[in-house]
């Protein structure tokens, strides 16, 4: 139904979408996930030409809508959009928000439009708010009216641009259940969302977007349970990390400690954990100290919110040596502390680098 080929979008020098090729078939529910600022919304807005793509082509039912001769308003009627900020027409009642498009664009009689609009308001559970103005509705109610407004135009596809991001957490579910119901009725939808659980059970296909590309795509099972690519994994497992680069023995330990503390605070880790991380890092750096004048050490502290695990990775160049080798250490005190704090310690030699991965208990 929609075929996108080599779509790209630039705002001035800023490249938002690099090269997107995808096909959306009738009846599909597609979730688009990914970190902020990777062009998810822009992609959606390019589909209905609210933002004009810089290059590439979009075919809808075989018609190239980027062709200057294409009747863009007509095309847009077939793929209506639900916005993050609702965008209800504030001078019209809920009902009039629905009927305006039907009477002015579809040429329906006022009576028919009103009748159909009431049905749709019933569908989203807001028939009794038909005469209310947008400023008299809660956020969740506004978004449900906005969805009904889309449906009023009999669209072939609805584009949802973060429909729940501007909502109070208590109102998210009322909007999501309306969308779920549409999915069940076989509506074709493309949904940009940050609600992972929702995306997983409502969609037949998930697009993970990053760096202006469709970075990985697959069924919800593939993407959520078994992501193949590194960034997808980090995103799905909600991994956040801290990197520190040490290139001489005279590094600033206090600055490093401060950064670790800030990181732990941001992830709301318990005090005890924070203390343990600091202790572990200090002991590890003690052990690394003899190497520091001849090698470069990269340290990475990664926290996965989903798995609730903390991972500490040290990588250094140079000859293949496991710094934690008992035989090489002057005493076992440091090692004992480290073994005590870490759940598992793995040594790997890869790409001419020594890598030590320590998993921490929380």
């Amino acid at each position: 139904m929609i075929k996108v080929e080599h779509l790209s979008k630039k705002f001035g020098d800023l490249v938002v979408l690099r090269d997107i090729t995808i096909e959306i078939r009738k009846g599909e529910v597609i979730s688009i996930i990914g970190p902020s600022g990777t062009g998810k919304s822009t992609f959606l807005r390019c589909l209905n030409l609210l933002d004009r793509p810089s290059s590439g082509s979009i075919y809808i039912d075989g018609i190239d809508i980027l062709d200057p001769k294409a009747d863009v308003p007509k095309v847009r009627q077939k793929m209506n959009m639900v916005f993050q900020s609702f965008n209800l027409f504030s001078h019209l009642t809920s009902l009039e928000n629905l009927t305006i498009g039907q009477t002015k664009l579809l040429g329906m009689s006022k009576k028919d439009a009103k009748h159909k609009s009431m049905e749709l308001l019933k569908l989203v559970g807001l028939a009794e708010k038909a005469d209310s103005f947008p400023d008299e509705l809660s956020g969740g109610q506004k978004q449900r009216v906005a969805i009904a407004r889309c449906l009023a135009m009999d669209p072939e596809i609805i584009l949802f641009d973060e429909p729940t991001s501007a909502l109070d957490p208590t109102m998210v579910s009322e909007v999501l259940s309306v969308i779920r119901r549409l999915a069940k009725d076989g509506m074709t939808m493309a949904i940009v969302t940050h609600e992972m659980d929702f995306a997983r059970d409502v969609s037949n296909r998930v697009l993970y977007m990053d760096e202006g590309l469709i970075y990985e795509e697959g069924t919800p099972q593939q993407i959520f349970e078994n992501p193949q690519k590194e960034r997808t994994m980090a995103f799905i497992n909600r991994i956040r990390s801290l990197n520190y680069h040490i290139s001489s023995p005279d590094y600033d330990l206090y600055a490093l400690n401060a950064e670790i503390e800030i990181f732990c605070e941001k992830q709301i880790l318990p005090r005890k954990t924070r203390h343990n991380v600091l202790l572990l890092v200090e002991e590890m750096l003690q052990i690394y100290n003899p190497f520091l004048h001849s090698t470069i050490l990269d340290m990475k502290l990664a926290y996965s919110e989903k798995k609730e695990s903390l991972e500490l990775v040290f990588e250094n160049t140079g000859e293949a040596i496991n710094p934690l080798d008992k035989k090489r250490l002057p005493d076992e005190l440091g090692l004992r502390i480290i073994n005590n704090l870490a759940e598992s310690i793995i040594y790997q030699r890869e790409d001419n680098k020594n890598r030590l991965t320590l998993m921490m208990r929380l």
Partner: protein, 501 residues
């Protein structure tokens, strides 16, 4: 409403009391007494030069019209006014507490002014004046118009031609008995009669343009009028810019002052004097008709200028909001020029420069000038209103399948209208009040009508207060209509109405 009526009334009382007690009492009986006096002169008249030459130490104040200077003298702000003696006679007829010093300040020749280079017409006019002088017509005119009593004027019967090239005469009809507006709203007077005689002799139908005295020469030069017959003195300075015929009247400027012993005017009760004032300013000579006509003109100009200005403002706003500099630059320039120029200047520029050689009715010119001024202000009001509409709603309209234009009509416009109306109303009321300057281009609006009444009665208080009240009422009524629009554009109004029903 009742409370405000009481307030207005109290205000009027206060003003009356203030104007009632005159301040200076040192009477002037000779030119010497006037050395350090406060002297009024008429802008553009020879009085200005006389005052500077004869009373170098006096405080000289300029007035546009005689009645303004008389009103100032009545309220004690002036000690004397320099006027032509027929005017002085006229004023003292109605105000016995004034008279003039018999010794003339300067003798002057009153003549008809013509645009330079009109030698044929000049020669013809000179012949006509010589003829009138010889057959005693001028003398008879002088006796009939310049008389000391209040008996009605006897006008000469003149059969005016109806066919032929129009003869446009510039007059300042606020100078009885030279030229003034009679009870039928017709321009009449000594000079006007002369102009009619000339019209008959030249076999050209006559048309009078009544304007401020100082606007006469510009009007002549720009071709708005063919000649000025309005008690104009042939001075050397004026001769530089226009040609004068031989004099048709020997005039003199005199010093108009307060009488030494004011024959105690029978002090009337407050209400009695209000009633008298009402009678002489409104009822006598059916002056209310004049006021009503002026009222009509003011309303017509206000309403049409608002409509024209709103449409033009919408166009300017559209251009201003365009991203193309070909469109938005002219709009920006237009807005800053019109907002930075006094509307009076714009009005006179359009009348005397742009339409200089076109014979155009001044009312449409006023509508254009005020409309242009209004457009500059409202275009920016519109822009603020449009920019205030939530961008998201515009996007929603576009995404729904509305074209840009239809989104504007169905989504942006209804919200803009409601948002801008309160400011727009204010701008509209200032426009109504601003129209009071159209007298400069010979339109008889409400203010001009009151000027005409004042020029006959030399009573400042009543006509001014009445005009103030009338302006208030016009604004109030027109405002009500806009308030109605404001109510119906409130989306919640319909619902409230339904739930009330």
């Amino acid at each position: 409403m009742k409370k405000s009526a009481i307030l207005v009334f109290a205000g009027l009382m206060f003003v009356t009391v203030l104007t009632g007690c005159s301040k200076t009492e040192n009477a002037i009986t000779s030119f010497d007494d006037a050395k350090n006096a406060k002297i009024g002169v008429l802008t553009g008249s020879t009085g200005e030069a006389i005052a500077a030459a004869k009373f170098p130490n006096a405080q000289v104040k300029s007035f546009d019209d005689v009645m303004d200077s008389v009103a100032a003298m009545k309220s004690g702000q002036l000690d004397a006014v320099i006027v032509a003696f027929p005017t002085a006679i006229q004023i003292s007829k109605l105000n016995p507490e004034f008279w003039y010093l018999p010794e003339p300040l300067q003798n002057e020749d009153t003549a008809i002014a013509l645009k330079k280079g009109n030698d044929d017409l000049l020669a013809t006019l000179n012949n006509i004046i010589a003829e009138l002088k010889a057959d005693g017509t001028l003398e008879s005119m002088k006796n009939r118009w310049f008389k000391a009593d209040l008996s009605p004027y006897k006008e000469m019967n003149i059969t005016l031609p109806t066919e032929g090239k129009l003869l446009k005469i510039g007059v300042s009809a606020a100078r009885e008995p030279f030229s003034f507006v009679d009870k039928n709203g017709k321009v009449t007077g000594h000079d006007t009669e002369l102009a009619r005689i000339i019209s008959a002799k030249l076999q050209r139908p006559v048309e009078f343009s009544d304007m401020k005295f100082m606007a006469l020469i510009p009007a002549l030069q720009s071709g708005k009028v063919d000649m000025i017959v309005s008690g104009m003195t042939a001075t050397d300075e004026r001769r530089k810019s226009v040609d004068f015929t031989q004099p048709y009247f020997a005039n003199a400027q005199v010093l108009f002052v307060k009488k030494t012993s004011v024959a105690s005017t029978t002090s009337l009760s407050f209400f009695k004097s209000i009633a008298n004032s009402f009678h002489s300013n409104i009822i006598q000579e059916e002056r209310y008709l004049l006021i009503l006509d002026g009222l009509k003109t003011t309303v017509v100009i206000s309403v049409l200028a608002t409509v024209f200005g709103t449409l033009l403002g919408a166009l300017v706003c559209f251009m201003r909001m365009s991203k193309k500099s070909v469109l938005n630059l002219p709009a920006k320039i237009y807005i800053s020029i019109l907002r930075g120029t006094p509307v009076l200047v714009v009005l006179m520029l359009i009348f005397y420069v742009v339409f200089a050689s076109v014979n155009i009715d001044p009312v449409p010119v006023a509508i254009i000038a005020f409309g242009m001024n209004f457009a500059a202000y409202v275009s920016e009001i519109f822009r603020t209103g449009i920019e205030g509409v939530d961008k998201g709603q515009i996007e929603a309209g576009i995404a729904m399948g509305f074209s840009g234009v239809r989104t504007f009509i169905y989504i942006v416009l209804p919200q803009t209208a409601r948002r801008i109306l309160p400011v727009y109303k204010g701008e509209f009321v200032s426009l109504v009040k601003m129209t009071s300057i159209v007298g400069y281009i010979a339109v008889q609006d409400l203010t001009k009508a009151s000027d005409i009444v004042r020029s006959r009665t030399f009573d400042a208080f009543f006509p001014l207060v009445m005009v103030a009240i009338l302006y208030f009422l016009i604004s109030w009524f027109l405002m009500q209509s806009l308030e109605y629009v404001e109510r119906i554009t409130d989306p919640k109004f319909k619902r409230r109405k339904m739930s009330n029903a």
